[in-house]
C-alpha cells in the first residue's frame, strides 16, 4: 500500500529526500526553507535517514560542502531560498562546471530590498544561467515527485549536472495537502545507488577544477551546454518511467491544460497553476476558449514543446512572478525567443503578478484573460502589465 498522508510541502520534500537517501545533507536554515532541513535532521536523529548531516555556517558553505561531497562520489542534498541562494550563487556555477549532480530544493522567496520573506520567483530566476536544471512544482505531490526525478536526471551519465527543484515558499512549503509517499524499495529501484565515473578517489586519482585557458575553456563550456541538451532528451523518458512506476501522470517538460481549441492560453509556472486551472475551468463553463500551460522545466527550456502547443492559439498571456528590471518578466522574454522560431506567432502580453507574496485571486486571472482578449482587437497595447497594483485600481 502506498502511504497517503496530509502534510506540508516542506515535509513532502523531506520524505522525498529520505527516500533518495543522500549520503550527505549540508544545509543552513532560511525562511521559508527551514522546515525542509528541520524535518530531514529529525529523520537523521531518529535513524530513518542515514546521512552525514552537516550543519554549516552559511549557505555559501552549504553549497561548497555539497561540491566537496558530490565530487567525492556521495549523493548530496541541500536546500535554500532567496538571499541564501544568492549567497551560494558563486558556488552554483562551480557545481555545474564541475558536473556535480547535487539536488537542491529552492523554497522560492522574493529578494530584498525591501526585505520580504514571501513568495515570488526572483531568486531562482536570478540564477537561471548558473547551469542548473530547474524544475518548478505546482503542488506538494509534485515537489516530492520532482525531487526523486531530479536525482535521476542529474545523475544520468550523459547529464551530470546539478538540479534545483523550485517550490513556492509558504504557498507550498507551509501548506498542508494530501501526499502519496512512495515505498522505499520502489524508489531504490527507480533510483539506483549513485556511482559516478569520475570522483575523488585515492585508488584512481584525478585532478578536478583545473585552470581552463582560452585554448580549452570554450570546449569545456560546450560540453556543459551539450549536457543540458542531453537532459532535455532524457527527461521525458524519466518522467514516463516515473509515471509507470508510481502511477502519477507526469507530462513532458510542459503540462497542457485544455489547450486543444484555446484562443487564449495562459502560461506560467509553480503553484499559481492551480489557481489558473480553476479560473480556466470557470471560464470554460462560460463558453470561453481558454487554456493553460505549465512550465515544468525552466532549464532546459521547453522550446519545441511550447512551439507545438501554441501553434494554433491567437493570444498568450505570460504570467511572471518576477521582473527583470530594464526588460520584462524572465519567462516572457524566454517565451518570445522560443516563439520567434514558430511558424505562427500569437500576440503575447506579459503580466507581472504576485511579487513579494501579493495574493493572486482567481478573479485576477480572469481579468488577465479579459484584458488579453481586448488586446487582440487593439493594435496599441502595453506589453508589460503589473497586475493588481494599488494605483491601477
Amino acid at each position: 500500500m502506498v502511504e497517503r498522508r496530509v502534510m506540508e510541502g516542506s515535509h513532502a520534500v523531506a520524505h522525498a529526500v529520505r527516500l533518495c537517501a543522500p549520503d550527505v545533507v549540508s544545509a543552513y536554515p532560511i525562511t521559508p526553507q527551514t522546515h525542509i532541513v528541520e524535518k530531514i535532521s529529525q529523520f537523521v536523529a531518529d535513524g530513518d535517514l542515514k546521512s552525514e548531516y552537516m550543519r554549516v555556517e552559511s549557505e555559501f558553505s552549504a553549497m561548497s560542502a555539497s561540491v566537496g561531497s558530490s565530487a567525492a562520489g556521495a549523493r548530496t542534498f541541500t536546500a535554500t531560498a532567496s538571499q541564501g541562494l544568492m549567497l551560494m550563487s558563486e558556488v552554483l556555477y562551480n557545481a555545474s562546471g564541475l558536473r556535480l549532480p547535487i539536488v537542491m530544493s529552492v523554497a522560492n522567496r522574493a529578494m530584498g530590498a525591501p526585505i520580504n520573506i514571501w513568495n515570488d520567483h526572483s531568486d531562482s530566476m536570478g540564477v537561471r544561467d548558473a547551469g542548473w536544471i530547474q524544475l518548478y512544482a505546482e503542488d506538494n505531490q509534485e515537489a516530492l515527485d520532482m525531487t526523486i526525478q531530479a536525482y535521476k536526471i542529474a545523475e544520468n551519465q550523459d547529464v551530470m549536472l546539478p538540479a534545483m527543484v523550485c517550490m513556492d515558499g509558504f504557498i507550498l512549503t507551509h501548506t498542508y495537502e494530501p501526499v502519496s509517499i512512495p515505498k522505499k524499495e520502489e524508489v531504490q529501484e527507480f533510483l539506483p545507488e549513485f556511482d559516478p565515473e569520475v570522483k575523488l578517489d585515492p585508488q584512481n586519482p584525478v585532478t578536478l577544477g583545473t585552470v581552463g585557458f582560452p585554448s580549452d575553456y570554450m570546449e569545456i563550456r560546450h560540453e556543459q551546454y551539450q549536457a543540458m541538451e542531453n537532459a532535455r532528451d532524457i527527461m521525458p523518458d524519466i518522467f514516463k518511467e516515473f509515471e509507470e512506476k508510481f502511477g502519477r501522470k507526469q507530462h513532458s517538460l510542459i503540462e497542457e491544460y485544455k489547450t486543444e481549441d484555446a484562443e487564449i492560453i495562459i502560461v506560467s509556472l509553480g503553484s499559481i497553476m492551480g489557481t489558473i486551472k480553476e479560473a480556466v475551468d470557470e471560464l470554460r463553463e462560460d463558453g470561453k476558449q481558454v487554456g493553460a500551460i505549465k512550465i515544468k522545466a525552466f532549464r532546459p527550456f521547453p522550446d519545441q514543446e511550447l512551439r507545438d502547443a501554441l501553434q494554433n492559439t491567437k493570444a498568450v498571456a505570460v504570467l511572471d512572478k518576477n521582473i527583470t528590471l530594464g526588460k520584462k518578466g524572465a519567462l516572457y522574454t524566454e517565451m518570445k525567443d522560443t516563439l520567434y522560431q514558430a511558424e505562427t506567432q500569437p500576440q503575447m502580453t506579459n503580466y507581472i503578478i504576485g511579487l513579494g507574496g501579493r495574493d493572486i485571486p482567481r478573479q485576477s486571472i480572469k481579468n488577465i484573460v479579459k484584458q488579453t482578449k481586448e488586446n487582440l482587437n487593439s493594435p496599441q497595447t502595453r506589453e508589460v502589465r503589473f497586475v493588481d497594483l494599488k494605483e491601477e485600481k
Partner: protein, 296 residues
C-alpha cells in the same frame, strides 16, 4: 635522522616562478601526509601553477573550486568519506594567505568549529601574489605591495599581520603549528602530526616569494631563515591549546637584516622616518620573542 617518504604527491613540471617558496612548501607538506589522501586547493598561486588544463602536478585526487571555500569543500569531502565508511583517507585543505586569513575565514572557522577531520595548510607568502602582489591580511606592517605602496603620505602597509594561528587555536583546534621552509624536516613532521590527528588541524607555512618580496631566487631559504632568526616568524606548535614545541633562537638578529634584503621594505631605508617604522617592526619581533620565549 628521519627519512623522508620517497613518494612525491606534488611533482615537478609545474609552472611556479624560479625560487618559489610555495612550491617547495607544498612538496614538503605532501611528504608529510603518509596515508591515502584527497586535497582541496583554493584559487591562488598553487592552483594556477599546478593545474593548467590538461596538465596536473598532483599525484593524489585534488579539487579546486573557488577562492574562499577550500575548507568548506574539504569538510564536504570528509563528510562524504564518513558516509561511505572510509576512515582511512586523509583530507588536506590548502590555501594561500589571502584565501585563508581573508576571504576564506568564515568557511575555515566553520570547518574548525564543526570539528571536521581535515588538515588545513596555509601557504603564507604575505600578499595576494597571483593577482599581482596586493596586500592581504597577512601582509606585515610597512611592506610595500601594489595596493599598499609607500608614497608621500604612506610607509606601506598600515596594519600588522593577522594572527591566524591564534584564531585557529581560539577555535579549540587540536593541533596548530607554524613552520618555515627553511626547516624542511620540521614542515614534514608537522604536517604528518597534523594529518594523523583526528579532528581539524592547522599548519601555516611561511613561504617567501621572490617575485612579490623582491629578492634573488637563490635567496629564498635564506630569507625564510632570517624571518625566523629575527623572531618575525615564530616557529612553534600548539597541542590542545598548549605550546608544546618552539624553535629557539640563538643570537637573535636585528630585523634590519631581514628587511634590507627585500625590495618590499627598501623604502624604509630611504624615507625620512623610515627608521621609526623599522623600530616598530623590531618591537613586533621583540614581543614575539617574549611571548613565545624564543631567545635561548
Amino acid at each position: 635522522m628521519t627519512k623522508l617518504r620517497e613518494q612525491e604527491d606534488f611533482v615537478s613540471g609545474h609552472r611556479a616562478c624560479a625560487g618559489c617558496g610555495l612550491a617547495l612548501g607544498a612538496r614538503l607538506a605532501m611528504k608529510g601526509v603518509e596515508q591515502d589522501s584527497i586535497a582541496t586547493c583554493a584559487t591562488g598561486c598553487l592552483e594556477v601553477i599546478s593545474t593548467p588544463y590538461p596538465e596536473s602536478s598532483w599525484e593524489i585526487p585534488w579539487i579546486h573550486s573557488l577562492f574562499e571555500n577550500s575548507a568548506s569543500v574539504a569538510a564536504g569531502i570528509e563528510a562524504a568519506l564518513k558516509a561511505k565508511g572510509d576512515n582511512k583517507t586523509k583530507v588536506i585543505a590548502q590555501g594561500g594567505d589571502g584565501a585563508t586569513v581573508d576571504i576564506g575565514m568564515r568557511g575555515l572557522s566553520g570547518m574548525f568549529e564543526r570539528g571536521h577531520d581535515v588538515t588545513y595548510i596555509c601557504y603564507d607568502n604575505e600578499a595576494y601574489m597571483n593577482t599581482g602582489i596586493q596586500r592581504s591580511g597577512a601582509t606585515p606592517l610597512a611592506a610595500s605591495t601594489t595596493t599598499s605602496p609607500p608614497g608621500k603620505q604612506s610607509y606601506g602597509n598600515e596594519n600588522t599581520k593577522k594572527d591566524a594561528l591564534a584564531i585557529a587555536a581560539a577555535h579549540g583546534v587540536g593541533y596548530v603549528a607554524s613552520a618555515s621552509i627553511a626547516y624542511p624536516k620540521d614542515v614534514v613532521e608537522k604536517v604528518k602530526k597534523a594529518s594523523e590527528l583526528d579532528g581539524p588541524s592547522y599548519v601555516q607555512i611561511h613561504v617567501p616569494c621572490p617575485t612579490g618580496w623582491g629578492f634573488k631566487e637563490r635567496d629564498t631559504i635564506e630569507i625564510a631563515r632570517l624571518a625566523v632568526e629575527t623572531a618575525l616568524w615564530p616557529v612553534y606548535q600548539m597541542e590542545d591549546g598548549q605550546i608544546t614545541n618552539i624553535r629557539k633562537i640563538k643570537d637573535r638578529k636585528p630585523v634590519e637584516r631581514y628587511l634590507e634584503k627585500q625590495k618590499r621594505f627598501k623604502h624604509l631605508f630611504k624615507k625620512d622616518n623610515g627608521e621609526k617604522r623599522i623600530k616598530e617592526i623590531q618591537a613586533i619581533a621583540d614581543r614575539n620573542a617574549e611571548t613565545f620565549e624564543l631567545d635561548k
